[in-house]
């Protein structure tokens, strides 16, 4: 039942191919440039490298503290995600299964905080942290990141906990299990997919953030990967292949995670594509 004006399958494929190409262009450029020498890049900026060199990767890893920055980012990701997940699981469980005053208000406020841009919170926190000597401390930054990702965690977990059949809670309750036991033994094992999604999306947020990192982790020794990148790219402004090797290394962890966990990533992004 085709009318002449309908886009054919070929046209659809071409549009999607073009979109996929555009989505990948920076990645392709980054990888092929990283494999070129400065001399080759000077004469050929578009083509594939004729004789790929790994020298750029070596000098990034040896001459720049990339791995160290990654370690700092990793500490913040682990700390913030663990803290936020623990707090959100408890809170979301109460919101989803218990009756108490202020419950709906709490959920509404928490959910609306998802959309508040972090920049409006930085001034008082920075002033406070300066007074308490908490600037450039892991615990200080972890606390802020944990707070920023928590509204999304609560939203996602409440939505998920509400889908757990009530009979499960009631059966466990009759068996004499306390609330905490029910949460740990019945609800959490069921929530594993939601938890993985949550951890993936939140890790991505903390790992990729620049604003909080620049302001609250100012010491060279505490610099995160994203803040390090801004310093690094300024320093090697004219050595494009070297810069690109740095970017390949910097994007590798999330890229590998994405390829390994695409299902969780895609589900996570689609379920709460708010961030």
């Amino acid at each position: 039942m085709r009318t002449p004006l309908q886009p054919s399958n070929v046209a659809k494929q071409l549009v999607l191919l073009f979109a996929a190409f555009l989505a990948l262009v920076p990645t392709i450029y980054m990888v092929i440039t990283a494999l070129k020498s400065d001399e080759e890049y000077a004469i050929d900026k578009l083509g594939f490298p004729h004789s790929p060199v790994l020298e750029n990767f070596r000098s990034v890893l040896v001459d720049s503290p990339f791995l160290y920055w990654m370690l700092n980012s990793g500490i913040l990701v682990a700390g913030a995600v663990m803290l936020s997940t623990a707090i959100s699981v408890l809170g979301a469980y109460a919101i989803a299964t218990m009756q108490f005053r202020g419950r709906d208000t709490l959920l509404a406020v928490s959910t609306s905080l998802m959309a508040v841009p972090p920049v409006v919170m930085i001034v008082p926190l920075f002033v406070l942290y300066t007074r308490l000597n908490m600037v450039s401390t892991y615990s200080g930054a972890i606390l802020i990141y944990a707070g920023l990702i928590t509204p999304f965690s609560v939203y996602l977990l409440v939505t998920f906990f509400r889908t757990v059949p009530r009979e499960l809670y009631e059966a466990a309750h009759i068996d004499g299990a306390g609330q905490f036991t029910i949460l740990m033994k019945v609800v959490l094992p069921l929530s594993l997919p939601a938890l993985v999604t949550l951890i993936v999306v939140n890790s991505l947020y903390v790992w990729n953030d620049l604003l909080i990192a620049i302001i609250f982790m100012q010491d060279d020794a505490k610099r995160t990967l994203m803040a390090g990148i801004s310093v690094f790219s300024g320093r090697y402004n004219n050595q494009v292949p070297l810069t690109m090797a740095g970017m390949v290394i910097a994007s590798a962890p999330m890229f590998i995670l994405y390829v390994l966990f695409q299902k969780q990533f895609i589900r996570g992004l689609m379920s709460g594509a708010i961030k």
Binding site: Q6, V123, R131, N208, I266, M270
Partner: protein, 290 residues
């Protein structure tokens, strides 16, 4: 119910309330207070509206606001791109799962990384201009990064490239949840592709499109720091040509150590986003009811 079990829910939400109060509650109250004070170090005397007068009297602030508003022009482009790609993906054309993995990539890569890469691609002697010259489009080979007339548009290209991925994700989630029987029925009735798109699919997507647009307005006004910071080499450069309100707040706080000024700008930004968040919730309620 025993008294202890009545307390239980509050024990469960206590850490949550404390964390949110610290990271959101405290700062959101404090910016109002600071904005009326001359803060030196950690506190200072009340000075009424002086901070606001200073901020509103500064041409740099208005220039920043204008740049944020200019970024709003990206939103229709983002909506169009997201719609086309998500609708095609939702038709499950051959290879759609692979396409889906690929078009989500911009959203997985960190903004600072992509900004560094794009900056090199758009350098005056970079690959984009080389390609344009090779295609004999020399007049289009602009100084994308270094010219103050063009720099903000270049940042906008990057923003469109990345934020469209979010639109595709959102729209696709909505499209895949659509009731397929309606679309099938329309096919049987002989409705052609455009007709189905216009009269059946788009009305169903109205809620999610509005939602995405409001989210994007908030992004353009208050969440483009990473793009600007990296593309402008740590400043809103060249000169002040890509300065935005976020960078204005950042500079007032970190580079000039004027928390009062930074707070006054933060308050104004918060009030604007507050209105948008209110709108967002009305839009979302509608999106959920559809």
């Amino acid at each position: 119910m025993t008294p202890s079990s009545r307390l239980t829910p509050y024990l469960y939400v206590l850490p949550l309330v404390a964390l949110l109060a610290f990271v959101f509650g405290y700062p959101l109250l404090r910016i109002f207070e600071f904005s009326f004070k001359m803060v030196r170090g950690i506190d200072g005397p009340w000075i009424g509206l002086r901070n606001y007068q200073l901020v509103l009297g500064q041409s740099l602030f208005w220039e920043s606001v204008l740049h944020n508003l200019q970024l709003l022009l990206a939103i229709p482009v983002m909506v169009a791109i997201s719609l086309i790609v998500s609708v095609l993906l939702s038709e499950r054309v051959a290879g759609w799962k692979l396409y889906r993995i690929i078009v989500f990539v911009p959203f997985v890569l960190a903004i600072p990384i992509v900004a560094v890469v794009m900056k090199r691609m758009f350098q005056f002697s970079g690959p984009v201009n080389e390609l344009l010259r090779w295609m004999s489009l020399d007049f289009m080979a602009l100084d994308w990064i270094g010219s103050s007339d063009v720099a903000l548009w270049t940042v906008m290209i990057l923003i469109i490239w990345r934020e469209s991925a979010l639109g595709i994700i959102l729209f696709l989630a909505r499209l895949l949840s659509l009731d397929e029987s309606v679309i099938e029925a329309a096919k049987i009735d002989g409705a052609n592709w455009w007709h189905r798109l216009w009269h059946i699919i788009l009305p169903e997507m109205r809620g999610v499109i509005e939602f995405y647009m409001v989210i994007s307005v908030i992004t353009m006004l208050a969440a483009v720091f990473s793009y600007i910071y990296i593309m402008g080499g740590g400043r809103g450069g060249p000169g002040t040509s890509t300065e935005v309100v976020e960078l204005y707040i950042f500079n007032a706080l970190i580079r000039s150590s004027l928390p009062g000024i930074a707070s006054a700008a933060s308050v104004m930004l918060f009030l604007v986003t507050g209105v948008l968040i209110f709108l967002l919730f009305r839009v979302r309620r509608r999106a959920e009811n559809f």
